[in-house]
């Protein structure tokens, strides 16, 4: 019951605070943090020690990196190598040295200075990426730069954990790692440890590339949606465990797993399944940060704590701003980048308790720094607001285009749902014309079959809004619904109308009745599935019966035009009503008249007569 009570408290606090914060334009992160403060021990006191919750909630960061990996094709990652190593590496080294220098000015030993610098050099992946994602900035220079730095920090964690125990000033024997990073490997010699680590990463890549496709296919064929959710979670949790076992950062491992699966047909399905867990866990993480802030310490040493917090944010901001300048991040994006990363990271908490256990830092320092990191996290959304309201407007002129453009490049403007006989023709025509298309299909067997012909399509049920979302429906221009089941078609139309009202819908209709139904739902264009093929066959029969090709084509075109107009007109009447039937009958008579009275052969005799010289001279004397 205690667990349920706690869950209820956190959920309720989030449900109240986050929509309010969003409404007020403060962003979800600040909402969660405030909710955490409110239920924490220093305000309402609903929850006590939140450390275990924070530990659990950090898994949200792992999921977040997995999802980011899913969106990054390996070549894109390769393009990022320079910012990751250059900008990320410089950020960690410069920040560490400067903070160490400042600490030494305040009388700390150099070992402690370096330790503090290393601990504070990382930023909060959760906060920075959540904010940049919310503002739709991930594809901009600022977003990519932030991501590069955060990724390097995640990699840097491994050597940092190795270095920290060496910095004990008392020279006492370091206590072997007691955090989650303890592993079976410690008994092995170094070179064997390294081999195991490399082996783990390679097996992660191999499993992702070769083993998972048939597994996903097997699961998809079971048609049990929760099994997919279970598989997706199992995958992320398993990766995290494997990484822990070999002493790597679980977030880094999850990221690698994500990149490996970025080309996988089941990517959108995975994303849609993991995303809600990630969002909830991150929310929980932010709340536990809020709840963990030690206000007693703040009240006892208000000046000292505020100075540490402000100093931390200011130093990081200046370094990041300088890096952004060196690495040519332009104008307003430079400020997004610097403000988004100017805080202590969640990994700082882990490193602090690790330093305490290894006697690298004394308890008083650890307490102050823990509070400082938490407060700097709270400060970030506030600074972001400041940036958005006061700094960014200075850069707005002329930058708007650059704002939009990278998004369009990244996201495919057309989504095609269904890659059967109908969807294939639509997609092939679009692809042949250089249009970027994302294709979704719900049959694992079918995907497997067309994959062998070199088509890249994704597994997913387009009637689910979360899947449409991960396929890019929010950014796409147009959704083609080409599946063959009329009920499914209607369902997809309803879902997209509700969740993506700006998405244009081009829809396959089963028959006239379905056509009317779709028209009433307000789709943008409807094509009856058998109409054009049948029409063309009819045209060919007319030719075979002796009609000249051009005549046959014109008859077919006129017939089609008339039929399409009638179908459109009939939609306003109830199917089978008297009016409906009388209009259809009338239309059938019309079409006979129309075809017999084509302008091209109308009154040929009379027209020919008109050309005789006599008549012309009559009119034009």
């Amino acid at each position: 019951m205690a667990l349920l009570q706690e869950a209820f408290l956190f959920l309720a606090a989030g449900v109240v605070a986050v929509p309010l914060a969003s409404r007020l334009g403060l962003g979800s992160v600040l909402g969660y943090l405030i909710a955490g403060v409110m239920i924490g021990p220093f305000v309402l006191g609903f929850v006590g020690d939140t450390e275990h919750i924070m530990h659990f909630a950090e898994f949200g960061v792992v999921m977040m990196l997995f999802l980011i990996g899913l969106e990054l094709q390996p070549p894109v990652l390769w393009q990022l190598r320079k910012p990751i190593l250059g900008m990320g590496g410089l950020q960690v080294i410069v920040t560490t040295l400067i903070i160490a220098g400042i600490a030494m000015l305040f009388g700390f030993s150099w070992q402690m200075g370096i330790a503090i610098g290393l601990i504070l050099s990382s930023s909060s992946t959760a906060i920075a990426l959540q904010i940049l994602g919310e503002k739709n900035l991930m594809q901009t220079e600022g977003g990519k730069g932030s991501f590069a730095v955060l990724l390097f920090q995640d990699i840097a964690v491994i050597p940092i954990i190795a270095i920290l125990p060496l910095l004990t000033s008392q020279g006492s024997e370091p206590i072997q790692v007691a955090t989650a990073n303890s592993s079976y490997l410690d008994s092995l010699p170094d070179w064997q440890q390294a081999l195991v680590v490399i082996g783990a990463i390679i097996s992660l890549i191999l499993i992702g590339r070769y083993l998972l496709r048939p597994v996903f296919r097997f699961i998809a064929e079971s048609h049990l949606r929760e099994m997919f959710t279970a598989t997706a979670l199992m995958l992320v949790v398993g990766t995290a465990l494997l990484m822990n076992m070999v002493g790597l950062s679980p977030a880094l491992g999850a990221f690698i797993a994500g990149v490996v699966l970025a080309n996988n047909e089941y990517r959108h399905e995975l994303e849609a399944n993991i995303d809600p867990f990630k969002a909830l866990l991150l929310g929980l993480f932010f709340m536990s940060v809020g709840a963990s802030i030690d206000f007693n310490l703040l009240l006892k040493h208000p000046l000292m704590v505020s100075l540490v917090v402000l100093g931390l944010v200011a130093v990081k901001f200046v370094i990041l701003w300088g890096l952004a300048k060196i690495f040519n991040i332009q104008g307003g994006y430079r400020y997004w980048f610097a403000f988004a990363l100017a805080q202590g990271g969640e990994f700082g908490f882990v490193l602090l308790s690790f330093s305490l256990q290894n006697q690298v830092l004394p308890a008083e320092i650890v307490d102050v720094l823990t509070a400082a990191i938490a407060l700097s996290m709270v400060l970030t959304p506030v600074l972001i607001l400041f940036n958005e309201r006061l700094v960014q407007p200075l850069f707005e002129s002329g930058e708007e285009e650059a704002y939009e453009e990278p998004m369009d490049k990244q996201h495919n403007p057309v989504i095609v749902a269904g890659f059967g006989r109908f969807g294939q023709i639509v997609s092939r025509l679009l692809i042949a014309n250089g249009v970027q298309v994302t294709v979704l299909d719900h049959s694992a067997t079918h995907i497997e079959r067309v994959r062998r012909f070199g088509f890249k399509i994704f597994y997913g049920d387009a009637s689910r809004d979360d899947l449409l979302h991960t396929a890019g429906a929010a950014k796409a221009k147009l959704l083609v619904i080409a599946v063959d089941d009329r009920a499914t078609i209607t369902k997809i139309v309803e879902t997209s109308k509700r969740h993506f009202p700006n998405l244009k819908l081009y829809v396959r209709a089963y028959d006239v009745v379905h056509y009317h139904e779709l028209q009433r739902l307000g789709v943008d264009y409807i094509e009856r599935e058998l109409f054009l093929g049948s029409l063309h066959l009819g045209e060919m029969v007319l030719q075979e019966l002796g009609m000249r090709a051009y005549q046959a084509r014109r008859k077919a075109q006129q017939f089609a035009k008339h039929d399409q107009d009638t179908t459109k007109r009939l939609s306003s009447f109830e199917l089978g009503s008297k009016k409906y039937i009388s209009i259809s009958q009338q239309a059938r008579e019309e079409v006979l008249e129309l075809l017999q009275a084509d302008r091209i052969n109308r009154d040929q005799q009379e027209q020919d007569n008109a050309w005789n010289a006599e008549e012309r001279t009559q009119r034009h004397p």
């Binding site: 014109r554 075109q557 035009k561 009379e606 008109a610 008549e615 012309r616 009119r619 034009h620």
Partner: protein, 196 residues
């Protein structure tokens, strides 16, 4: 009453056009002008004759705007004439729907004015090459007005195109607003001279 102007526009590759795209945009801003983009409306050449005839009766000035292809109009404009200018509507004993309307071509040509001369590469003047249109107008009882011609269409700079577009705009406004003397109009060699 002001003249209403119908521009029957034919360009099969407008997306690659520099001149006509600008001209069409300019024309659309003029009051009393209806732009009718034939290739966009009838991609399969299935021209709606009734609708076209109705449009014709609603306007006093009819312009064909097109790039000169093989000394004539792009194909859809010929199809349009074949179908819309029906016996009994445009000509023949009862065919008087177009009588008294003004008709002119608005064309672009790759060649210079000098190339369209008896001693130039093309041997005939634009006025001579457009004779079929002139006679079509005559047969329908319309008043044939000399063409508005843009020479060297492929070599114009952006500034020159802008200048031409604004001349076209002025021309349309004048045609719309003023009662022009028909003899004065028909005496011109090119309609361009009205603006210059």
């Amino acid at each position: 009453m002001n003249n209403r102007i119908l521009i029957l526009f034919a360009h099969p590759a407008l997306e690659r056009s520099r001149v006509h795209y600008r001209l069409l945009k300019a024309a659309q801003t003029v009051e009393g002008v209806t732009c009718h983009d034939l290739y966009q409306l009838y991609p399969d050449f299935l021209i709606n004759v009734d609708r076209e005839q109705e449009l014709l009766t609603q306007h006093e000035i009819i312009l064909f705007q097109y790039p000169l292809y093989w000394y004539s109009s792009p194909a859809i404009l010929k199809e349009w004439q074949d179908l819309v200018l029906e016996y009994g509507f445009a000509y023949g004993q009862q065919g008087s729907a177009l009588r008294g309307k003004l008709f002119a071509n608005v064309i672009s040509a790759g060649g210079s004015r000098a190339a369209y001369q008896a001693d130039g590469e093309n041997h005939f003047t634009i006025r001579e090459l457009l004779r079929p249109f002139e006679q079509t107008a005559n047969l329908c009882g319309m008043i044939y007005v000399p063409p508005f011609v843009i020479h060297d269409a492929n070599d114009l700079s952006q500034a020159e195109i802008d200048a031409t577009a604004s001349e076209y705009q002025q021309l349309l406004s004048q045609l719309h607003a003023q009662h022009l003397s028909v003899p004065a109009l028909t005496r011109l060699h090119y309609l361009n001279e009205l603006i210059a």
